[in-house]
């Protein structure tokens, strides 16, 4: 009876953001597909109605099926026997329900049986599914592998693989190896050309592979013998029907227990090359990872939303000292902090998704018909913003989901650590979000160049120009000044100090961006206003603290080296 779309007005609103007109027109090639496909929209309003009704359908399934199954899936988990994985019963039901409802392949082109929805909608879907069951969301979100095949594969490969994904075949991205985690360029799984059968073959071991027994796999492998770096790696596709890959074991984990994490053995498994040799890591995996990082942002927001709602509900109902605990300032403040972090994360999530959509839309248009006028500039602008915001989103949203679920348990008190309530599971599920698809530390590395080259500070200044209230403009200007001061302070004192404090600098920038996005949303309702005020105040406090710490702490003071 619930609905994770209809009960959260913050979702639907994303479809009426001013940029959506441009995004949808690009996605729908000016609504020309409706001549060919009867389920394609005829104009912007029609498209939004399509997104709205589809999200409402998914929201219903999330609330009634996936969320209901989540605690049982968490307990049962998947199993592994004879080299194959069997999902938990609830996972199987979730997958079957979504497949029967034609909800897989949401962002695939219609010619491959997809719904051709923009990233904003796909991300919203991921957020809702994660709110219902973060572990299952991994299986759901891996369908994004289709994006990589669609972007870089040849027509034949696309026609072979993509409609299968729309029919509910699952995917995995097989990158990590025992000795290649964050350092992917040292991947050693061997790809060799088999002259006899005229096919590529894969030999070796992959580890920590989410949904490793998937139907369709994207595999990073070393195709160039004798190489040891990124330039020797290519990307391959493997289908389960071809045989040659077995699951040696699945991991016992802290959280996201519904998604099987596999150790895989490739025994001369046949595979097909995606795109060109040597571009595997340098180009394709980087693109795949960026999409996946946006997905983890959505997952983190979904987990945080679930924790916030559970804690809020509990605080309204639980009575101590003769009144609901929400009336206690200590609890109310915690909830307000949680709400501000959830709203800040979500604001950045959809802002990033919009830039990704624009960049994808213009890149696609450039391929098909070419760009004219200022479209080339707009494409570059969107791509730059997408690249800049994606690691900041992944960093902050995942850290916040850990903080929000931590606080949710605190609101629940003793009940928070028993498994009868959902928050214990949410807390366990949140933990890995700061680790997979690039650790927080790696997100900092990806984001910091936009701090040092001045792009992020400049975009912050740009946004200040549109703030009409003098008091707020002044507060934001002060924050921008503090950031610039801190950046200059580190830059002037050399690499080591900069490296030591780069995370603090990225966070300072990220907090200001989030505050500014909340500023833009604040008029919509009381909650938006509360989140903006609270988050801005925290941003100011965090900024002052970081600035001070940067000034007093240098690399020599690090202990335990």
């Amino acid at each position: 009876m619930g609905n994770f779309y209809k009960d959260n007005i913050r979702l639907k609103r994303q479809f009426t953001h001013p940029l959506m007109h441009e995004i949808v027109a690009l996605r729908e090639k000016n609504y020309t597909e409706s001549e060919q496909f009867d389920y394609a929209p005829t104009d912007f309003e029609d498209a939004v109605e399509c997104y709205d009704s589809t999200m409402a359908l998914l929201g219903e399934i999330c609330a009634d099926v996936i969320a209901t199954n989540a605690p049982y899936v968490d307990r049962q988990g998947p199993s592994c026997a004879n080299g194959r994985v069997t999902y938990a019963d609830g996972t199987q039901e979730n997958h079957r329900t979504l497949t029967e409802a034609s909800l897989y392949g949401m962002s695939l082109p219609r010619r491959f049986d997809g719904l051709n929805f923009p990233t904003v909608a796909a991300i919203m879907a991921a957020e809702m599914v994660a709110r219902a069951d973060a572990g299952f969301e991994n299986i759901w979100s891996l369908q994004d592998c289709a994006e990589t095949i669609n972007e870089f594969g040849d027509e034949e490969l696309k026609a072979e693989m993509l409609p299968r994904i729309a029919r509910g075949e699952t995917c995995s991205m097989d990158l990590t190896e025992p000795d290649a985690g964050s350092d992917l360029q040292s991947a050693m799984l061997r790809a060799w050309w088999d002259d006899e059968t005229q096919t590529w073959r894969l030999t070796g071991v992959k580890r920590f592979i989410t949904n490793g027994d998937a139907h369709i796999k994207l595999i990073l492998a070393r195709s160039e013998e004798g190489t040891t770096d990124a330039r020797g790696l290519s990307l391959f596709v493997y289908h389960k029907d071809w045989g040659g890959v077995t699951v040696r074991r699945i991991e016992r984990k802290l959280g996201i227990k519904g998604s099987p994490t596999c150790e895989l053995v490739f025994d001369n498994a046949p595979a097909k090359l995606v795109g060109s040799r040597r571009m595997g890591l340098i180009k394709y995996v980087m693109s795949l990872m960026n999409g996946a990082r946006l997905g983890i942002g959505a997952q983190a927001v979904g987990i945080s939303e679930a924790a916030l709602q559970a804690a809020h509900q509990y605080a309204l109902e639980r009575k101590q000292f003769g009144r609901p605990i929400i009336e206690l300032t200590a609890v109310a403040e915690m909830l307000s902090v949680m709400q501000a972090k959830v709203d800040a994360s979500r604001a950045l999530l959809y802002e990033t998704a919009r830039f990704v959509d624009l960049a994808k839309g213009y890149t696609e248009k450039a391929k098909n018909e070419g760009l004219e006028g200022d479209e080339r500039q707009r494409n570059k602008w969107a791509q730059r913003n997408a690249d800049m915001l994606t690691p900041i989103l992944k960093l902050l949203a995942s850290e916040y989901s850990n903080q929000v679920t931590y606080d949710a348990i605190q609101v629940f008190g003793g009940s928070g650590v028993v498994e009868d309530f959902p928050v214990a599971r949410l807390y366990r599920d949140a933990r890995v979000t700061t680790i997979y698809e690039g650790t927080s530390q790696l997100q900092v590395v990806a984001a910091v160049k936009y701090i040092s080259n001045g792009e992020l500070p400049a975009s912050i200044r740009e946004r200040i120009a549109s703030i009409s209230e003098p008091e707020l403009a002044e507060r934001f200007t002060h924050l921008a000044d503090e950031l610039e001061h801190a950046v200059n302070y580190c830059t002037e004192r050399g690499n080591d100090l900069f490296t030591l404090h780069q995370r603090r600098l990225v966070e300072m920038g990220g907090h200001i961006v989030m505050s500014q996005l909340l500023y833009a949303e604040r008029g919509v309702d009381e909650r938006a206003e509360q989140s903006f005020r609270h988050y801005l105040a925290m941003t100011e406090a965090w900024s002052a603290e970081r600035k001070r710490f940067i000034e007093i702490f240098s690399p020599e003071q690090i202990g335990l080296k």
Binding site: D38, C50, L57, E60, S102, L103
Partner: protein, 267 residues
Amino acid sequence: MTKIKIALLIKQVIDTRISEGWAPGADGTVDRNALPAIINPEDLHALEQTLRLKEQLGGNAEIVAISMGPQRAAEALRECIWRGADDAVLISDRKVAGADTLATSYALALAIKKVGASLIFAGRQTIDGDTAHVGPQVAQALGIPQITYAEEVALEGDSLVVKRRLDDGFEVVKSPLKALITVGSSAAKCRFCNAKRMLRSRKAEIKTWSAADLDGDLSRFGLAGSPTQVLYSEPIVTESKGGVVLTSSIEDIATLVAELRSNHTIE
């Protein structure tokens, strides 16, 4: 094999399962705008049975959802199509308004004849009227067998084998393919809408028939054809010693629900 036409009778009702935030008015009526409109829950169980039967028939069936109600009920019919029904008809006319279960059954029976359906499915009862009259009365009007409280319907040769859920167990009966079956909530839940079907038929026009289209006796439609008359209704307040007296006000209902939740009577 010719296609079997299956009629599915549905009603759009307000979701009275929602326990908080509303209360019946002094005259016992419910403000229809205060609650969301849904397909009557047991009608959805019936829809699922028709879809399963169609699968058993290798797709060799056509499911036509039929409803009587205001224009807005077209939404409910459209949802039936999104969930898998092939076609839909709405009987909507001021002349059929105010019908009791007898007049409703009369109009529905005429529509079923006009559609040409031989097999009819309906929910056991609605959550607004709670009478469970309409299904059996339609069977009576059509002169065909009725099977109530169905839980599972299976095809066996030229017959249907129906498992009926009863208070003290179940019963399995056999019937020809010409019958009316009412399905209860113990039957399988209805599948969800299919996104592509939904987008494809998002603006589907729902055929609307007036009383005149049904080609019946005008005096048997609507209020004119309804022998049932509601004189008054009264909210019943049960009292017991040591208990708390609650009325049917929004506040008291909220108190009751909070109490039931805190002792885990309801979730």
